[in-house]
C-alpha cells in the first residue's frame, strides 16, 4: 500500500484506469487530488477501481448536509404550519455551528397527513432525528427535513417538571417519575 502523503493538485492516476472518488477531480483525462491525505484505492464489484483521498481529520465535505442524510436536530419553534429546528449533527459528524432546518406539517408523518396537529408531535427543546429531503430555496436558507419514517422522530425529550420522557408507543412518551404520558412522534430505534 502506498503510504505517500498527497497534497492538493498532485496528479494521482489516469481517468481511464480509475474512477474519481472523494477528494479528487478529473482534468484532461487525468485524476488530480484536491485535498491533503493518503491515497485509498477501492475496487468495485463491476471491476472499476475508485481512487480517493483518505484523511482521518474531519473534512469539510462531510460536514454539509446532503439529500438523504440523517440529521440530529433540536426543535426551536413550532407553529401550526411548520417546525423550525437547528441541525447539530449530520450522520455521525458533529457540526461546529448549527444549520437551520424546517419540517413542514405534512412531512411529520406518512399517514393521516390531514389530521396532524403539530403540538401532538413535537415540543420546543425536543431532540429529534430527521432526514434531509431538500436543500431549500435560495430565499429561505433552511434545509427541508422530514420525519415520515418509523425510525425518525423524537429521541430525547424533557417534560415541564424536568424529567426525562421515555418511549411508550409510537405516539406517546411516558415519564417514569409520575407516570404521566405526553404525545410525541416517537422514533422507533432498532437495535
Amino acid at each position: 500500500m502506498n503510504k505517500k502523503i498527497i497534497i492538493p493538485g498532485e496528479r494521482i492516476g489516469k481517468a481511464s484506469e480509475y474512477e474519481s472518488g472523494k477528494g479528487t477531480y478529473i482534468n484532461n483525462n487525468y485524476i488530480y487530488s484536491s485535498q491533503l491525505g493518503k491515497i485509498k484505492i477501492e475496487s468495485k464489484q463491476t471491476g472499476k477501481k475508485i481512487i480517493e483521498i483518505e484523511n482521518k481529520q474531519e473534512t469539510a465535505i462531510s460536514k454539509i448536509p446532503k439529500i438523504g442524510d440523517k440529521v440530529t436536530c433540536k426543535v426551536i419553534k413550532i407553529n401550526p404550519r411548520l417546525i423550525k429546528v437547528h441541525i447539530y449533527c449530520v450522520e455521525e459528524k458533529q457540526l461546529n455551528e448549527p444549520f437551520f432546518g424546517i419540517i413542514l406539517t405534512h412531512d411529520i408523518k406518512s399517514t393521516e397527513i390531514d389530521k396532524i396537529k403539530v403540538e401532538n408531535c413535537f415540543k420546543p427543546n425536543d431532540v429529534i432525528l430527521a432526514e434531509v429531503i431538500s436543500l431549500g430555496e435560495s430565499r429561505s436558507f433552511s434545509y427541508y427535513l422530514s420525519t415520515a419514517k418509523d425510525d425518525l422522530g423524537v429521541i430525547l425529550s424533557i417534560n415541564s417538571d424536568g424529567f426525562f420522557l421515555f418511549p411508550y408507543s409510537d405516539s406517546e412518551m411516558i415519564c417514569h417519575e409520575n407516570q404521566s404520558k405526553e404525545k410525541r412522534k416517537v422514533a422507533i430505534l432498532k437495535k
Binding site: 482521518k56 454539509i64 461546529n96 455551528e97
Partner: protein, 248 residues
C-alpha cells in the same frame, strides 16, 4: 535615510541578500483551535496569520449564491505591524484591495460548487509588515485552506518582485517596496504552472523588463512552493503519527 543604491556593485542588496534570494521562510499550520484551519506564514520580518472557517451558514443572506459557496475575506493589520503606528479602518482602500485580491485569486481554485448556499470565511491578521504582505497573505491563506480540508484544484503560491535601478529583485522588503520601482505580485498554480493573478503597482515598465520580472517572480513562487509543500507533508506526517499513537 537616503539610499543611493539598492544593489551594490558586488550584487548585494541592503539586507545582504543577492538579487534572486528569498528571505527565510517559516510555516506553522493548525495553531488555532477555534477555527477549522489556520496557518502562520513568516517571510523574513513579515508575519501573517490566516484562519479559515467553514463551509457554514451564510451570515449576510443577501450575499449568498445559489449554486456555490461564497468567500468572505476579512483583513486586519495590527496597529504595531507597520512603521507608522496607525490604525487601518475596515473600509480603507488598501484593505479592500487586498480582500479583493484574495477573493479573486481563490475563487477559481477552490471547488466552490460542492458547497451550495454556504460561506467560507477567511480571516487574515498581519502581525508584522515588512514588504510582500499581499504574497504572504495568499500563501498563508492557501495553507489555512489546506488545513481546513477545503477541496482545491491546485496549490496557490505567491511572490513579489520589483524592478529597481535597472535590476529585477525578488522578494522585496519594506525599503525596496517603497523605493518607487514597479512592483509585481504574482500568484501561480504550483503544479500546472499557470498564473492565477498578477498585480502591478506604479506600472511604468518596458515590456522586455516586465517579462524578465514575471519570469523571476514565477521562479520565486515555485521555490516558495517547495518549502510550503515540505511543511504540509511534515505536518500531515506528524498528525498521522499522533493519531496512530492515540489508537495504540
Amino acid at each position: 535615510m537616503e539610499i543611493s543604491e539598492y544593489v551594490n556593485p558586488e550584487g548585494l542588496r541592503i539586507d545582504g541578500r543577492r538579487r534572486k534570494e528569498l528571505r527565510k521562510i517559516e510555516i506553522e499550520m493548525g495553531k488555532l483551535e477555534q477555527v477549522d484551519g489556520s496557518a502562520l506564514f513568516v517571510e523574513g520580518f513579515t508575519r501573517v496569520m490566516a484562519s479559515v472557517c467553514g463551509p457554514k451558514e451564510v451570515e449576510n443572506r443577501s450575499k449568498a449564491v445559489e449554486d456555490k459557496a461564497f468567500i468572505s475575506v476579512e483583513f486586519l493589520s495590527a496597529t504595531f505591524s507597520t512603521r507608522k503606528r496607525t490604525k487601518m479602518s475596515k473600509k480603507d482602500r488598501r484593505v479592500l484591495e487586498i480582500c479583493s485580491i484574495i477573493r479573486k485569486t481563490f475563487e477559481p481554485v477552490l471547488q466552490l460548487e460542492l458547497f451550495p448556499e454556504s460561506e467560507i470565511s477567511i480571516f487574515i491578521q498581519v502581525l508584522q509588515a515588512d514588504g510582500g504582505v499581499e504574497s504572504a497573505c495568499i500563501n498563508a491563506v492557501t495553507l489555512a485552506l489546506i488545513d481546513a480540508g477545503i477541496p482545491m484544484i491546485d496549490f496557490v503560491c505567491s511572490c513579489t518582485g520589483t524592478y529597481l535601478d535597472s535590476f529585477c529583485i525578488l522578494d522585496t522588503n519594506f525599503i525596496e517596496e517603497t523605493a518607487g520601482g514597479s512592483i509585481l505580485i504574482a500568484a501561480i498554480l504550483a503544479k500546472s504552472k499557470k498564473v492565477v493573478s498578477t498585480q502591478m503597482k506604479i506600472s511604468r515598465l518596458k515590456m522586455e523588463n516586465f517579462t524578465e520580472l514575471l519570469e523571476l517572480v514565477v521562479d520565486g513562487c515555485s521555490r516558495i512552493y517547495d518549502l510550503m509543500e515540505d511543511a504540509t507533508r511534515k505536518r500531515t506526517k506528524e498528525q498521522l503519527n499522533s493519531q496512530t499513537a492515540l489508537i495504540k
